[in-house]
């Protein structure tokens, strides 16, 4: 029952989605100040133990769990317990939020102004809000928004204030804390700060987990954190992290709470504020450090049009029903509950599985704008397209996407060409349109002569920016696309051959896309089902046969995955020279730039420049044992396993997508020598 409630893959068309309300509409007609100062009486959790932020601290410090860890740390390190307790108290001071309604009101006022300038509309599904209102009263709630922009958590708190819901406490990275004033302001609006890494620090972990659990147990406020851990620079969902998920589920596992409601929230943007910043970051320009002055400089963004923003509150997912039949809670019976326990293997698997499913729910509820379809097509046609054929193909793609269950926000009663021209206008900085011909290109590039390397860089920024929109719809096409590629590379039409190939691809791309581990068969069946329903394939008992009319769909689907396949093919070769891991990204970039210049015209490999893709590819090769980590002295180097790479190439290379593979590989060989 639980997994069915969580995600039903078989009938994506039947997915009922709520309708949206524009919340800015009212803001444009009434006073923001009065709004910010209005009476705020949130619905509360029925089991709430009333408690002030300052009291929280003493509850946490007095808790059996923390006391136990303090004694343990003290006996291990030899410091006195008072000393360790003092340290714990300092950690807590650094971490804790100090939620203040006045600060929230200030934010509400400024954000109202900002949102009205930035966005045409901010749309929220009010049915989701009503469900949340219900859920908040019944059990402690954990909010799990997707993370694409800094705007996300500001918007979340803003919305909860607006709908008289309890304000969340938000797990935020330490980076914000260093911002003057702003860090403290965020703290006072409910953010608490955690270090990015504290792997071995027992005390830190204890303080942190106890702090979160205490708030959850008391029903103090909804806990909000990002499953993906960080903002996704590519607009693809990131492989979820399970640490915090474990912390918020543990009170249920240990019987301290009857249930916990997880509420996945999907926040999507028609145009992302950080768009080009992300592209630059992916190309190796480090992310600007969060600073107040940086924030002030960034107010330039206020003058631009970012279209609409959508926030979709998903159905609350009960942890209790999720765990049914999967977790035996009695495994926690034999130790006092204050003693920290590492999650058991099956708990770990459950957490991982749940995290993936929650991210898939987030993906499924992301609103897709027509521009996403256009971006997909433009990326497949680097030489540009005529407006008329663009309109025609967009329309075709639209129907395909809808059939696959995409949550597409296509304006009603508007001609296709009209919709397209609107989209193109909003994203004009990525395009050049001349004489009915649209092409992705640098528009605001400096007119002065640039080196070829710089030109590649600017073009790459445009391509990667555009790719970030295409990535938004990848989850819709992913499974059928994997099947399409598998069919082309498999030795035969036999079902098990195709499945093996599908499984191999799925395994290779498991860091790249959200593919629940262990769902291989289910994904395969889903892909078959979708393509069969579309009339592209015929799935017989032992064979999978392409229908006569299916060629164009299959070609489209496999070219969706092209950039990734190519990227993964480039990567192992860049590593042939046993690059030192620490210098990995820089060297790769320099190398690839030259490579792209050489190959331009023939290849569309800009996406291979993305550090995200390289990182994922490396992870995949490590997993597939094509590359090994070798420790030489203090340095970790990567060693290529030639045999494994060759067999990988055999499998990948068979795909006739890369028709020019021979010349491609030979040029690669040249560059190996060059380096």
């Amino acid at each position: 029952m639980a997994s069915r409630a969580l995600y039903s893959p078989r009938h994506p068309m039947l997915k009922k989605r709520d309708s949206f309300e524009d919340i800015l509409e009212e803001r444009r007609h009434s006073s923001d100040l009065r709004y910010a100062l209005r009476c705020y009486t949130p619905t509360l959790y029925k089991g709430l133990v009333p408690c002030k932020a300052s009291m929280l601290k003493s509850i946490v410090l007095q808790s059996d769990h923390l006391q136990y860890v303090i004694k343990q740390v003290s006996s291990e390190s030899g410091d006195s317990t008072e000393c360790v307790a003092e340290e714990a108290s300092l950690i807590l001071d650094e971490m804790a939020h100090r939620l203040q309604l006045s600060t929230v009101r200030f934010f509400v006022f400024t954000l109202s102004k900002a949102f009205k300038r930035l966005f045409r509309s901010v749309c929220v599904n009010e049915e989701g809000i009503q469900r949340l209102q219900q859920a908040v009263q019944e059990h402690p709630v954990v909010l799990l928004p997707s993370h694409r922009s800094y705007m996300d958590f500001l918007m979340m708190s803003y919305l909860l204030y607006m709908y008289d819901l309890p304000l969340p406490v938000i797990a935020a990275g330490m980076d914000f804390m260093s911002m003057k004033f702003v860090g403290e302001m965020l703290r006072m609006s409910g953010a608490f700060f955690i270090r990015r890494s504290f792997g071995g620090d027992k005390l830190y972990w204890a303080v942190f987990s106890e702090y979160v659990k205490t708030m959850l147990r008391n029903g103090y406020a909804p806990i909000e954190f990002f499953l993906e851990g960080t903002r996704s620079r590519t607009c693809k969902s990131l492989t979820p992290k399970t640490g915090l998920l474990n912390i918020v589920m543990e009170p249920f596992f240990k019987g301290e709470l009857f249930d916990v409601n997880l509420v996945p929230v999907s926040i999507s943007y028609e145009r992302i504020l950080e768009e080009s910043l992300y592209a630059r970051e992916l190309l190796g320009i480090p992310k600007p450090k969060e600073s107040t002055s940086g924030l002030l400089k960034a107010r330039r963004v206020l003058s631009e049009d970012y279209g609409s923003m959508y926030v979709y509150f998903g159905h609350p997912v009960s942890v209790r029903s999720l765990t049914e039949g999967k977790i035996t809670r009695s495994q926690y019976n034999l130790l006092p509950r204050c003693i920290p326990q590492k999650p058991s293997a099956d708990t770990h698997e459950f957490l991982n599985d749940t995290a993936f499913r929650l991210v898939r729910i987030q993906e499924g509820n992301m609103v897709l704008k027509p521009w996403v379809l256009i971006a997909t097509l433009l990326l497949q046609n680097p030489d540009g397209m005529d407006l008329s054929s663009l309109a025609e193909q967009t329309d075709w793609l639209r129907h395909l996407a809808l059939a696959f269950g995409a949550f597409l926000d296509w304006p009603d009663h508007a001609a296709c060409s009209e919709v397209i021209s609107c989209s193109l206008a909003l994203h004009r900085h990525l395009l050049s349109v001349s004489a009915g011909h649209v092409q992705l290109s640098v528009t605001d590039a400096p007119q002065v002569e640039t080196t070829p390397e710089e030109a590649v860089f600017h073009q790459a920024v445009v391509v990667l920016s555009c790719a970030s929109y295409r990535n938004q719809i990848l989850h819709v096409f992913l499974r059928p696309a994997l099947l399409a590629v598998a069919m082309q590379s498999a030795n035969s039409n036999r079902k098990d051959d195709v499945y093996n190939c599908f499984n191999f691809l799925r395994n290779m791309f498991s860091s790249e896309f959200i593919l629940c581990p262990g769902d291989s068969v289910q994904d395969f069946e889903e892909a078959c089902y979708l393509l069969m329903k579309r009339g592209v394939l015929q799935v017989l008992e032992h064979e999978i046969v392409m229908s006569a009319s299916g060629h164009s769909t299959l070609a489209f689907l496999s070219s969706v995955l092209d950039p990734f396949l190519q990227g993964y093919q480039v990567t192992p070769h860049t590593q042939c020279a046993n690059l030192i891991l620490r210098r990995f990204e820089i060297s790769v970039f320099r190398f690839l730039c030259v490579f792209v210049i050489m190959a331009s015209g023939r290849l569309k490999c800009y996406e291979a420049l993305s550090s995200d893709l390289q990182k994922n590819a490396l992870a995949a090769f490590l997993r597939l044992k094509a590359v090994m980590k070798v420790k030489v002295g203090d340095q970790v180097t990567l060693k290529v396993n030639k045999i494994a790479v060759n067999s990988l190439e055999d499998t990948l290379g068979k795909s006739d997508v890369i028709s020019h593979q021979n010349s491609w590989w030979s040029s690669m060989a040249m560059f190996e020598i060059a380096i």
Binding site: G255, E256, F258, S330, Y332, N333, P336, C338
Partner: protein, 650 residues
Amino acid sequence: MASNSSSSTAQQRLRIIAGHLQKRPEDENASVAAQECKAEAPRSEPSSATPVPRRRQEIMKWNGWGYSDSRFLFTKKGQAEFTGKRYRLSGLILPSLKDWFEGTFGANLQHRSPATPSLNLSAVAPPNLNQPFVEDLKAAGLVVSHDPEDRVFRAHGHCLHEVFALREGRIGRVPDMVVWPSCHSDVEKIVELACKHNVCLIPYGGGTSVSSALECPREETRSIVSLDTSQMSNIHLKDVFIMRCTAVTLTLHIVSLTAGSETLHKASTPLCLSRNTFPVRLLNEHGYCTGHEPDSMEFSSLGGWVATRASGMKKNIYGNIEDLVVHIKMVTPRGVIEKSCLGPRMSTGPDIHHFILGSEGTLGVVTEVTLKIRPLPEYQKYGSVVFPNFQQGVACLREVARQRCAPASIRLMDNEQFQFGHALKPQVSSMFTSFLDGLKKFYITKFKGFDPQHLCVATLLFEGDRGKVLQHEKQVYDIAAKFGGLAAGEDNGQRGYMLTFVIAYLRDLGMDYYVIGESFETSVPWDRVLDLCRNVKERIVRECKERGVQFPPLPLSRVTQTYDAGACVYFYFAFNYRGLNDPVHVYEQVEHAAREEILANGGSLSHHHGVGKLRKEWMKESVSGVGLGMLKSVKEYVDPQNIFGNRNLL
């Protein structure tokens, strides 16, 4: 109540007994309010030395709890009344019960669900007799019966589904015959013949099981013989003698009253030192007691206590059955098992008593038990403490346990149970008492600021010599004060204990009006008590909702025993089943879910009700596969033919 003993010491003891019963005539007139709610021993002296007749159905209900003449009913005016003359509550009007009943369950006195008035004999299948066995029994001079009424009476315990089926007149598999041994050698003979002729024996004691332990296994094809141990007390009545008398412990040898597989349950009076169960009465006449007072004491049997690992209300002073037992004699198909001496402790490998304690009638028939006895306490006092909420109450009980100063009994009722207890307050006869009640309520809720929807009550029973009791009382009230507890008088305390004795009678009343319910229990470490109570209650509410129960269910919890390492928690759970097709099935599903929740929250499978057939499925999980294997191998050795084939436990 007293026997006419000539010695002055005996008379003094009798006064003490009378004191415990609080039946002083002058009190009766002076303060009705303090008395009338107190449940108490039947007033009539049992005339015969045999406490239980062979045809139990002549004095007891065939399809409900307890004596036929004692039951709750709503009068035409809509007032609740308890009939009969046996109990202190008998004949009294309970004015607030109706409102509580209707308000809590959404029940209505117009909507009745009456029971089938009498047993339809044609519904009982004809007995499947093993003729040679019957003849051999008769030749040995044993009393047997295959009367349908006798057989039906011994085919069930008091689980909800069992009683519900009887009320509807549905009779399932029943024993084919009843046999009444009257001494140890009778039992030996019966077991020997049963082995010879391969019949299935099911020991039957008091019949108060709530674990489906007495149900005849459906898959059993042999003739099933119910071995009723009630007549065994008869012969050895005069044999009661005091074995050893030291300053601390007295040991009494009792020929077993009964033996069997029933689980302890419910319904005794709090003042049950003078039950007509013979050993207890006789003991008391000699100025002693065993101190073992399970709630079902009125009906359950000594053999049953042993066979289920029973626990008594006053275990804080006297211990549970395993602490009280000095010696056990049991007849098994392999022969008789017993120890060779009465030493208080032995290091002779695993204690063989522990194979017998809790064996639930799967290994043999307990025929003799030697129990420790103690002098009757000089003084007894009830008490109660009101806490602002359940958390504080549990914290207080935990502290009491930590300081090891628990009184004979200390129980903590949650808010709902406190309100339930309140609904059982008899009509107040004077303006003054009702004024006093009002004042008390005002003080607690308004002056002390306790929320009537959250406050909860601990009930206390102190025992010992007068000076020590008063000192002890002060110590406990001082601890309670640290947790915000206010002393709330003896009356509340006593009413709390009365609740446990009338609850089974009340269930019969509920079942007349579409309300079904039952109790279950567990034991759990201190740090999990609160979470377990909350989660189990919430699970019950959720499951009822999911299964289409139209009215909100009533789950109640009570911390009923304290130990160093944890507590015993007792749940009552009832709901109005109007609109449901198969209410018993729904009930069973909900109870099943509640048990899963208990186990998931660190509770045990059972504290004292036992496993029976109802909770068998969790045995392996509870004691591990190896543990279960150990128990099975004992059964395999002792009873390879599965003569004691009630299929409990394993």
